[in-house]
Each structure stands twice: as C-alpha cells, then as structure tokens.
Symmetry: D2
Subunit: 284 residues, 4 copies
C-alpha cells in the first residue's frame, strides 16, 4: 500500500546553504521529498539532516544511490546513512524471565506496528521458551558463565552472526554486556526501568520506593560501555503514591517500560533517531 | 543577544522540488537557514513550509524581502507570510473578572518569555482595573450592552484601531464576539476551559463534574464564527478525582488554562503555527 | 502469599458517626482493617465507604459475613456489596477484529496482574479465533443478525449463562448492545477510543483527526442504555501532532486504549470502584 | 463560607482496632467526620491517620481539643498534630533573583487558592524588592557573607523570629542553609529544578541538557541536612526535545517548578502531607 521511500540521515559540519544543496541534489534527481527535517547543534557546530523521498520516479536506481549519497557526504565532510522504508531488519531480542516487553514487541511486529523481523530470542533462563515457540521464533538458551562471561558472550556473538542479526534489543535482559561484546556488536537498544540518570544500576524500583518518589519512569537508550549512560531515545513517567509498595511500582512500571521501548524501537527502525555527542535528535 | 531572523511561512499546492526551490532561493540570497520545517497534507495536496534564516548577511534588505517573497509565493501558486523575529506585535487582552490568565501573560511578557507589547486591556467588568494599572497597561471598561451588542463591539473596534492592535487574546473573556466583529478583526486567540470538543459553551467545569470525567482540560484556539470550533493550537489535560467538587475543577483548571494559553500564544508569536483546513500545523 | 481479605462497599445516606459505627462493627468482630476509604457526596447527601480487612482472625466466618453485612446496611438505610480478595470472577470478553486489547488482557491475566478467569470470548468475526485457542480460551462466533439483533443477543445471553459469566468486557467489540440485553446482563465494562464525552459514536479517531485535536484519549466506562454515557472509570490522553494521519491516531490510540481498559478492569475487580449518580468514586 | 474543621494527623504503631478507636473517639464527642484517610506502612509497622471533622457541634471546645488529642496519642504510643482549617500560618518566602515562583505564590495567596499569610520575603539580592512592595510584603535583603555564613543565618533567624514565622518556602533561593540553621528552624519546603534524585546540586538544567534527557522535572520537598534528599511532596515532568537549548529547558522548567511548588505548599498547609521514614504520605 505505501510506496517505498529512500531515507537519508546526514551529519556534517554546519555552514550556510546545506539545506539547499541537499534538497537540490534530490530535486535534481527527480526525488519527491516526503519529509525533510534538520537540526543544527550550535555548541558542536553540527548540521543534522533527515530526508525521505519516494524511490519511484527517482533518477538513480536503488543500487547506485548509496555511492551517490556517500559522495554527497564526502563533499560536505560529513557522514551519511542510507535506508529504504521496505527493509526488514533482522533483530534479536535478549530476555531474562520477564515476558511483558517481549510479548509486547512480538505482538507489535505481528500487527505490523513495528517493522522488523525477529528470527532469534536469546535468554539466560528457560522461562520464556514456550512463549517464543508460540510466536514461532527460535529460542536460544545461553547461560551466563559467572567465571567466564566472555565465553558465554562468544557463543552469543556466533549465534548472532549465524542469524545475520543487525540489531539487538535488550527487553529486560538484566545482564551487563562486556566492552568486548559491544565492540563487536555495537548496535543495541536497552530499556532501563527508571527515569535515567536517576536510579542507575540494579533494582531501580526498590531504590525509587526507598527514596519516596512521586513519579516512576522508564528510559529506552542505546547501549554504550558506560552502564546506563548511553544516548537516550525515549523516556516516560507515571504517577505513584505512598500506597504503592515495591511490587506495585514493578507492576505499574511494566506499562511504562513497554511503551518506552516500543516507541524507541519504532523510531529507530524508521530511522527517525540521529545520535551525536552522546545525545539523540528525534525527527518524528 | 539573539540576532534577528527572517521567518517565512508558505502554503502552496504540493509538487516535487518545492523544498529545493525555496531553500535554493534563500541560499542564492546568502541566507543562513536556522530552521526549516515542512509538512505535506496529503488529503488536501498542500505543502506547508516554515523557514527561518539570519537577516544579517542576507543579500536582500529588510524592506525588499516582502516583495521578493510574494513573488516566490505567486510562482508557486501559494501564499506567503513574512515576519521578523525582532517584531513586537501590539496585543490587546480581553478579560472578564478572573485574573489568572492575565497575570500569567503579563508576567511572561515582563520576563521576556512571550515577546509582545500589551498596550491595552479591555474588560466588561471593573475588577481587574487596579491589576492592569500595577502593570502599567491601559484598562478600558467597555460594558456589553445586552440589547445592542453591536454598539459595544463598535466601541471595542474603535479602541483597537486607536491602539493599533494586531492580535486579540481572550483571556477568560466569557463573552461571544459577533460575526461582524470577527469580520473586522479576525485574528483572535481564545482559551476555552475544556478539552474541546467536549463541553463546548457555558460552564464546562460544571458539565465535566456532572459527567464524572477523570481528566479535565483546556484548549487554546483561534476564534472563528462557529463557537469553540476554531483551529486548535494547544490542549492540555489534568487528572481529577471524585473528591474534586466543581470549585476544585475550577481551581485546578486555572493551572492548565494558563499554560495552554501561554504556550499557544508563544507559538503563534514565534510564527510556529500554520492554519489550514480548520487545523493547525505546529512547527516547534 | 497474600492472605484473603474481606472487601465491603457500602452506600448510605450521610450522617455523623458512620465511620465510627462501621469501623466499630469490624473491630468488635476482631477484624484487622487494611484499607478504609470514605467519600461524602455533598450534593446527594450520600456516604460511600470501602473497607478491607483480614478474613483470618475475623470472628464471623465467610458464610455468615454476608448476612451480617446486609443487616448493617439495612440499619443504615443503605446498600452493601461484599467480596473476598481470593474470588476469581468469570469474565467474558467480547471482541471484533482488533486484537490489541484482548492480547493485553489475556497476558495480564496470565501474569497475575489482573485477577479473573476468562473462560469465554465472543466475537462477531472469525479473525481472533486462533489467538483465543493459543491462550486456551473458548471462542464463540456469534454473528450479528442485521434483521434480528435480538436473536443474536439471545444466543449470547444463553452462552453467557452456560458459562456462568459474571462480567462482560467489551474489548473493542464495535457493536451496540440493546436495552433488553443490558436489562438481563447489566454488568459490562467498555473501552471507547476517545476522551469522552468528545467524539461519541462511530469512528472517533476520524472525528478527532478532522477536528485537529492535539491530544487523543480513551475512556473505560460501565455500559448503560445511553450510548457512551455510562459512568467513567478511567481516562487517558496522549499527545498527537499534525504529522499524524488517521492511521497514526489509530495506532497511537491502541496504547492508550489498552492501558485505560486494563486499569479500569483491575480497579473494578479489586472492588475499588463505587458507582453513584452516574459517576464513580475510585478508592485506589 | 466554609465552616471550620479540626484536622488531626496521627502516627502510631500499627495494631487492629485503630480506625475504630479514633473514629469512635470523634463520634463520642459528636464530631461529624468530613475526611478520614489512613495508611499502614507494613515495613515500618506504622499506622498513619488523618481525620478532619467539623468544629461546630463538636463537644470539646477549641482550646481543650489539643490536650484531649495528645492523651489519645499517648494511649496509642503515637504522636498527634492538631490544626484548624481557619488558621493562617505565617510564612516567609526566600528568593534569589528569579521571580516566577514568588509571583505565582503571591498571586495564589491573593486569590485565596493558598491559605497562608506572607509577611516577609528574604533575599540575598535586591532584584525582587520592587515586586515585593507591589504586593505589600516586607522585603529584607540579607546578603550571604561568604566567610561567615553563620552570621548571615543568625540575622535571618532573628528576622524570622521577629516576624513570628512558622514555615519557610525556598522559592528558588539557590543557597544552602546550614545544619545549625535547620536545627533552629526545621520546617522548610524547597523547590528543586530537577526530577530528584536525578541532577542533584547545582545547575540541574545544564546537567539535563548535557545528558540529553527527553523529560525534565521539578521536585518540591522538605529540606533536611542532606542536600536534595529530603522527603518528596510533589514531582512533575515535562517533555523536551533536541531542539531545546539549556535556556529553553530553564524557560519550560519554570512552569513545572511553579506548579510543583504550589501544589506541595497547598498540600502541606491543608495538612494533607504526613512524613515518615524519609517519605511522605499524601492524603488528597
């Protein structure tokens, strides 16, 4: 129903005339622009641009656009990323024992709300195996070897490679991935069950209850080496009261976690997120 | 501190190449674009564009930009509106007896948060006269003649003209302006104390209480002939409970009214609102 | 893990001493109160009370509490409803073609978040049959006979009776039940996909888009004869923008619908909702 | 218009029968209960109760209630606080250079929304002197002596004593009060411009911008020796985006700060806040 679009994300040093040059290049090639979003980060002197145009009617064919776009970026001393709206990225979901984010994501994939393919689910527990089978997704149990975490991670990396995975989603995985792992597989989205940077680390709801906050939150972010410090994509908060015990925060939090993660993932997959200087620009 | 920018709002029939043409025209005249936002309304086949660039360095001087922009718009079969960021529009605020929106707006003007000049306040009551004097604003008492409203309105129109008013803000004015008035002074922003289209007309909080809603709201909108049906700029909601009596809804609502009105007014004055087909696009 | 509690909901004419009398009766019978919530509706001169105490240690046994409570209510010229926290009410979910609310509710039941038994799902379409089977719930296809709706409804009523259903949840059923049906089965919770009373009736998202609102909403309410006019239990809103087409409102709305319905249902089942004068008091 | 009520806040060790005993005592003295709220903190085994009843008709007169209430509390091994709804507590507001919270509070006092008397404003700057005079409030300039802060604070304490101040509100005071000060004047409400515990200390908006959060917040809390760690009364959050510079966060934050502080202060003054174990229970 929806025709395919070309999505260009471009970052380069800021200077006058950039919007005109980029839009001019697209127009020159008969591209019909659907969305054009720009942002200038004044402190970094960076220009961020996201352009989306119809593939149909565009003078360059699918194969040759990448090279042309890279040349455009080189001329601007910048970097380009190119995607097509009909791509179906292969995504692995990492889980532990909790199912709420997983079920939510799989349902959204099935209903067409989130456009991705989920061929693989990895877990360090067995609890969610049946659920994965019900959804027809391969489930791999990869326990965390406490003495040799890197060994566990190398099995994961091999599995990810076998399945040609492009993106990992940590849907309440509750484990920390090593710097070595991140080096080899850097594209990971995580959901943290607090309003970061409050309550980093373990048991954020216990921390939140102890502190007596009146709002709890969830944060979806890209994973970096510094725990819970990666670029934030989406944050949500929710009212709580003194009547809520820790288990109530956990229960209420599930709703806000699911929504923050689903929104962040959708934004990422539609290439509406651009990362720069440890932050994100969201073109939505 | 902030240098002056040129703000162009343009609406025209959609077709390929528009972003390039408009950005190209600005680049050709050495304009350094700060913000470029576009929206295509598919059902109306309309292209909406808001561009903001530095006046300094632009090859056309302030006086000649208007003509150039109108020509640009004519070539695109569209309509353009041009503004400069250093303008200080002359705004009249209409009030009745309630002060919360008025105090809020005057404070925001004084603190520089909302950039406008308020030389005139019109009311059909005397209650807020002292307050206006404290803020150094002229207060005009213009009672509503129940048998001859048009007579009252003609006094208002004359006063607005005397003060060279460009925009009216109805800050809880609680009176309906006639079609004739709107014809002669069409640019009016109103705050309605409900989540429109729920609870149109009189006493929305009483209606809301009676209906037992769990959220109350406020709606800032442009005024049109059809009461409470004008294009919506901003809406806010707020949680209420069975413990709230009507007077609690009124009290709580004041906070949400003030914020919805102030946000809408700021968006309008920064030329971030574009109206089309009875709706608004907000480029913020 | 959690011990069973007795939940008393009582409505009676207001007068001094009620809290003392009711709490005194519980204390006299050695009940340890966990929650005690009261509300006085001044306009109706009504006293609403919800008390929850431990069954263990209470001097009356489970069977004899009902009679005692009814006598207490009679003495206060009021009405009492008695429930126990370990009850598992039998609930039928009515659906049409959309699965999001259904999946959400079934998942919450499975995870223990909503405490009820769902032995039956009724639909006027076949689309969700497989899903129901996956969750191990009986699915009954009962088409709506356009010439004889009452005939369809009598089949439903018979089925509900066969399954000993105590509560119906309309999870996007998209059909109107007749007054006759409601008379025979009056306990029904519905999710309406708008911020009621705005956008009653059909296609609220289309109406909302046309009106250009900046927030969309969802309303969970008890069903009464007057369409979309029943007592409201929960309302939620969500920000939208001019970039959202109707299908975006529908998509975004699914999240707010699911949450409003799940919250309302949980409140109802925990007996935290009291209905009076067409409104609800929520003791949560 | 509203008749005077007696407000009792009581904390004591939890045990069965407490609601009955306390409500029984009120009923015995012919008190007509308007609000009765209770909370049991299971981990601390504490029972918290707030009761509000009409003074008119109550068998004890205003003067003798305190003694009776203290006796009641002693019998329960607890502590009681007694207030009357017609009291007008004397409150000092501490400010620095920013006016938004101050103007907001003074307007709410004038409009009757917050019931208190503000005879004194203390500042370490001169900027807000005129504003205070406009509102008819005494303004005391008390500079902070960087070498001898205690000297400055002793002047403050003397001034507070002269004015018979009962409560201090730090409305963006931007200075830290010493442990000695807090010992002598322990009842202080502060507004912190972040969603605590995120971004404690100085320049929270700069920290928030740097971290790239998608929501900013404000926290109203009681002041304790541990900076920004006192019991939280109210928290609010607000959406921000990559387009917001630090000065935009500051501007947007003002709205959420004002509302969080005003709500917290109103709750405190209506005696709807109870503090225990570093947290608060809000009976609203």
């Amino acid at each position: 129903m929806l025709s395919t679009t070309v999505i260009l994300q471009l970052v380069c040093p800021d200077r006058p005339g950039l919007v005109s040059e980029i839009a001019g290049w697209i127009a020159h090639n008969h591209g019909n622009i659907r969305h054009a979003d720009h942002h200038t980060d004044d402190s970094e002197r960076l220009f961020l641009s996201r352009l989306e145009w119809d593939l149909e009617g565009f003078r360059l064919n699918r194969e040759s656009i990448t090279e042309a776009v890279n040349e455009l970026a080189r001329n601007l001393n910048g970097q380009a990323q190119l995607n097509f709206s009909d791509e179906l990225p292969r995504v692995a979901i990492f889980v532990s024992k909790q199912s709420h984010c997983l079920v939510d994501l799989l349902w959204r994939v099935r209903s067409g709300e989130i456009q991705m393919s989920v061929p693989l689910i990895i877990s360090n527990h067995f609890e969610l195996e049946t659920l994965c089978r019900d959804f027809g997704v391969d489930f791999r149990y990869i326990p965390i070897d406490p003495v040799n975490r890197l060994k566990s991670e190398s099995i994961m990396l091999q599995t990810l490679s076998d399945y040609r995975i492009e993106l990992i989603v940590l849907a309440k995985y509750m484990q920390i991935l090593s710097a070595q792992f991140l080096e080899q597989f850097p594209l990971i989205i995580n959901i943290h069950h607090s309003f970061l940077p409050a309550f980093k680390g373990a048991q954020p709801y216990h921390q939140a209850w102890k502190r007596g906050v009146k709002l709890i939150g969830a944060t979806a972010h890209y994973v970096t080496e510094d725990l819970d410090d990666g670029p934030i994509i989406e944050q949500t908060t929710l009212q709580v009261s003194h009547r809520d015990e820790v288990h109530d925060l956990i229960r209420k939090g599930r709703d806000t976690e699911r929504i923050a993660l689903a929104r962040a993932l959708r934004l990422h997959l539609r290439r509406q997120v651009m990362v720069y200087s440890g932050r994100t620009a969201i073109f939505a």
